[in-house]
Amino acid sequence: MSFALAFAWLIPCAAGVAVYAAFDARRESGYWATAFGYGLVLGLLFAAAASDLLARADTAHAMAHAWLPLTAFALIVGTVAWRRSRARAAASTTAPSQKMEKWKIALFCAALASLAWRAIFALREILLRPTFPWDAWDAWAVKSKAWFLLGHYAPFVPMGQWIAGTSGESYSGPAWSYPAALAWLQVWFASAVGGWIEPLINLPWLALWIGMLFGHYGQWRALGLTRMRAMAFVYFLGSLPLVTVHVALAGYADLWIATIFGFAVLAWARWLEQRDRNQLALACLCVLSLPWIKLEGAVWMLIFVGVAGYGSLPRQWRRYAMGVIVAIVAIGALIGHLKVPLFGLGWVNISLHAIEIPVIGTLAIAFHPRAVAGAVASLFTQPNWHLLWYLAPLIVIWRWRQFHELRAARALGALLAASLAFLGFLFLFTDAARWAESYSAINRLVMHVVPALFTMLALLLRDVDFRPALLGIAPKSDARSHPA
């Protein structure tokens, strides 16, 4: 690895960890895992943002233009974090860690080894092959490659505008409207490598996976899961076949959305349970970055803001809010359509027969029964998710009392219900059904909410005493309780 490439990894990582440390000075359990996981992922996005802001005129040397401001940013934020951590040091809430039993250590190591094993495969896959999956080059790398090889930024515009343009400076293509965060990230690494070498440009996908697992482990620990239980959930999340595929065949944006949406949900859950405003701010940062990564990110952001905002209202206000929503829907039904501005998507026209989204197109509304088979196969028979979609509803039913009592679980349940309702509507009642029938998109969009689903399941299972099941003795009541 060249010095420049090592530097290209180090600076964003340092900036990301510094930002997380500035947000979270409480040093809860799992702090360093969270700081590393969030720091790695956010840091990569900072590198993309720095390239976007500072290197448009000279993309071939993006890192040369952006490294100093990014380093300065890391140092300033790191100083803030250090000062905050010193102020908090006296009030540190980290409980002394209890020693794990030997069999738990063995299981912990086995889970780690299993994850490391697939990480090695993924790393070799990335390092050896040219970019393979279709959208990776067609939708995402097409912009970064154009900008890097051109040596400067060029806008991607609709076909009509491209044809009508007189300068010939703009580019076009089917993915002209896709957000550019990942393209700028690839420009950052291409400039560090000094050439368009796809394996090295695609390496951030492995870092993303590692960051996702670290971030979730740390936050689950902070939410009260034991080390063993947090590691078990990390194993279950990291072992999902489709997640591994998105690392090994790097280049798609879906794992980024899944990770950042998952990070937002984790931080939100900590806000709900611990009233930590820093975590709320972190959740906002994550949620606001979603539309910059993929168009669907705007939808997840809107759903998140809607559910979180509604849930934070006083009871009386919720009634008013629900009344306003019902009134808007009723008016829309009366006049036949609604035109609403949606951040990241433009003015979306919703009628009884179609949804017109400016940057995507028109989706006719009609029930597609054949898509049901595609959805069922995707979730329940294909080896994409192991047992996740069988077990998730069973766990919710089994832990219904805890689900009802835990505010964070209830809130996450509402968010996931809204998200899955959106996916159900999209794939069963619009033209997007063809992507469910062909399996070409349904699993990838489902993946966006999977880490968040794991967080809800982790909250529901954090207090279950499994020893009776293993040892054949009568179970005790829940080991600990958490505020509702």
Binding site: S114, W117, F121, R124, E125, L128, R129, P130, F132, P133, W134, A136, W137, D138, A141, V142, K145, A146, M159, G160, W162, I163, A164, T166, S167, G168, Y171, G173, P174, P199, F236, S239, P241, L242, V245, H246, A248, Y252, A377, S378, F380, T381, Q382, P383, N384, H386, L387, Y390, L391, Y439, S440, I442, R444, L461, D465, F466, P468, A469, G472, A474
Partner: protein, 417 residues
């Protein structure tokens, strides 16, 4: 103790039934096949490629001009219903090749039933349930195998390596055959494909057994229920034990997935490991696209732009969306976009080019000096009106360069007819 013994027997029966279902087991069939027909590889005729006898085996040393090898064997009217299980064994079969199976029936001797992709022949015997192969009925008069570079993933220029075809066997239905076919289907190697990024289920192989996941889940649920009844588990303990059982099943499924991932990865190692990036970036499943793009880039590198302040733009047409999008990516940093997306009625700029690659719906009409989209012509409408509607002027296109399947046309100032 007795309860535990009964529990074990009941659970064993449950798993037998649960596995027999996807295997399509006929309960009345014998444990081992009653009839068996051995087909030594040396008796197969090499139709394409080259092969030599190696004892009872056939050593395939090269492929034909189209990059595939094919071996066939005539049969004396074998009744398809009598032989519903095919076993085959190869040695050293490269992961970069795909295997397909074909046959000819007595009722249509001139037609070869479409070749169907069958599980990759790894080490040892592989088994195929022929009842699930379309057209396997009547009397079979010929069967054979074909090998070719794995579509979508294997670079054709490095896909072939010599291998040995050992033997094939046709056998009558049996428990052994049914379960062996199920095993091959569930645990055989499936290569990466373009759809892998979206779903791992759909595979190219024909005769896929029902998927493993729901049957494994059903087996565990029924086993838990049986154990709860026979061993009189308390209600409270069932949930915890179920979670432990499901976690164990998750780990088993994960081990299966890790095995599959390892197999997929061996392909990547075989093709790319030990080569520098400059060589690896050429090893793509569609080298013709990359070569065409390189040729076009070279052409433009030697051509001065007519308008110094104007970047050239290229409209790309090809037979499929995949091809023209890949071509556009490979052409970068040239400014290209798909001609299929052209919805405006004019092409105003000079120094715009049209690049046609391979079979495409666009054709150059020399008489009118324009390009014709044959698919866009409604019945009864003359080509002229379409040109006039589609393009501002005819006589603006002229061929400027071609090489093999690559045809490049330039839009120039309209000439006077």
């Amino acid at each position: 103790m007795i309860r535990r013994f009964v529990c074990i027997v009941v659970i064993a029966l449950i798993w037998l039934i649960v596995l027999a279902w996807p295997a399509g087991l006929a309960w009345e069939s014998p444990l081992v096949p009653k009839q068996q027909m051995t087909l030594d590889a040396r008796d197969f005729r090499v139709v394409r490629g080259a092969g030599v006898e190696d004892g009872a085996s056939l050593r395939i040393g090269s492929v034909g001009d189209d990059g595939s090898a094919l071996q066939a064997m005539p049969l004396r009217r074998v009744h398809a219903d009598d032989f519903s299980v095919l076993r085959y064994r190869f040695d050293g079969f490269p992961r970069t090749l795909e295997l397909s199976f074909f046959f000819r029936r007595a009722d249509s001797p001139a037609d070869v039933e479409p070749a169907v992709t069958v599980p990759w022949p790894g080490d040892g015997w592989q088994t195929l349930d022929l009842r699930k192969v379309p057209g396997w009925r009547g009397d079979i008069i010929e069967l054979g195998f074909a090998e070719y570079a794995t579509p979508q993933i294997a670079p054709p220029n490095v896909a072939f390596k010599p291998f040995r075809f050992d033997r094939a066997e046709l056998s009558s239905p049996s428990w052994r055959g049914s379960f062996a076919a199920l095993y091959t289907s569930w645990f055989g190697y499936t290569p990466w494909a373009l759809v892998s990024i979206s779903a791992l289920g759909p595979q190219r192989e024909v005769a896929q057994a029902p998927p493993l996941l729901p049957f494994a889940m059903l087996g565990v649920v029924l086993s838990l229920a049986a154990a709860a009844v026979v061993l009189r588990w308390s209600r409270k303990s069932i949930a915890g034990r179920a979670i432990v059982a499901f976690a164990a099943l998750w780990i088993v499924l994960d081990l299966v997935w890790l095995g599959d991932l390892y197999s997929k990865h061996v392909f990547t190692e075989n093709v790319y490991a030990g080569r520098p990036w400059s060589e690896r970036e050429q090893l793509v499943p569609d080298p013709d696209i990359a070569q065409a793009a390189a040729q076009v880039r070279n052409y433009f590198a030697t051509q001065p732009s007519l308008h110094q302040n104007l970047s050239r733009r290229i409209l790309v047409g090809a037979e499929s969306k995949y091809v023209f999008l890949k071509l556009i990516y490979e052409l970068l940093p040239l400014n290209a976009a798909p001609i299929q997306q052209l919805t405006v009625s004019r092409l105003p700029l000079n120094d715009t080019f049209v690049l046609l690659f391979g079979d495409t719906q666009w054709h150059y009409d020399e008489a009118h000096g324009t390009l014709l989209d044959e698919h866009a012509l409604p019945p009864g409408v003359s080509a002229d009106s379409i040109y006039q509607d589609r393009f501002e002027h005819a006589d603006r296109f002229e061929p400027v360069w071609e090489s093999g399947d690559v045809h490049l046309y330039a839009l120039r100032e309209a000439r006077q007819r």
